[in-house]
């Protein structure tokens, strides 16, 4: 399947890009993050992040579908 990934804040700095499209056999965000982490060596671990699929908060075990937009989010720091 093909996924669009968007990166923000520290993850964007570490990935070196704000978005990328990846081909993956990952069935859930946890598997996808693990694959991407192997490439980008993020300094944040999965349990420090939240994930969104198609602009909605999601769980790490949600089913991914072709063409999903997946965003891994560092801890919020607004205000």
């Amino acid at each position: 399947m093909k996924f669009k990934i968007e990166y923000y804040a520290q993850l964007r700095d570490e990935a070196g890009c704000s978005a990328e499209t990846v081909e993956s056999i990952a069935s859930c965000p946890a598997e996808l993050f693990s694959e991407l982490n192997a490439t980008h060596c993020f300094s944040l671990t999965q349990n420090q992040l939240q994930v969104a699929i198609n602009d909605s908060f999601s769980s790490w075990t949600s089913q991914l579908n072709d063409d999903d937009l997946v965003v891994f989010m560092p801890p919020m720091a607004g205000g």
Binding site: L44, Q48, A52, V71, M73, P74, M76, A77, G78, G79
Partner: protein, 142 residues
């Protein structure tokens, strides 16, 4: 109403938009960029948002406040981009018949915004360093 904004907030317009003849109280909270954090002298801040989800979650929080508290109206805006010391980063306004619920709803909104809305803050320090707030603290705990 919740909005991510890229230019300074129009405080007069925000106030006028909440004006209501039934309101007996109007409570606001302004979050400003301060010149220090955790022992470091801060030069400026950069806020970044995941706009689609930030707008959705921010709107949800304002709607929750409307449902939870006996208030007339509520609104919140949050800046993104580079902000200098003293600039307004976040604004919350609440109107109500009486002040108690307006204060409580305003507090609820800013507290929830800080932990639930996907917005991130990078601090630029006098020392020349910079860093994403919280993220680096998390990384050190891993």
């Amino acid at each position: 109403m919740f909005a991510i904004i890229e230019t300074p907030a129009d405080l007069v317009k925000l106030r006028v938009d909440l004006n209501d003849r039934a309101a007996g109280g109007y409570v606001t909270f302004e979050g400003w960029v301060r010149d220090h954090n955790e022992g470091q002298q801060v030069l400026r801040l950069e806020y970044e948002a995941y706009p689609a989800l930030a707008n959705r979650e921010g709107s949800r929080i304002v709607a929750e406040a409307m449902a939870k508290f006996d208030i007339i109206n509520a609104a919140c805006v949050h800046r993104t981009g580079l902000l200098e010391i003293g600039e307004l980063a976040v604004w919350v306004g609440v109107t109500a018949v009486h002040r108690d619920t307006a204060f409580a709803a305003c507090r609820y909104i800013i507290d929830e915004i800080k932990v639930r809305v996907p917005i991130w803050k990078k601090e630029y320090y006098v020392s020349g360093d910079s860093g994403w707030v919280d993220c680096e603290a998390c990384a050190s705990k891993k």
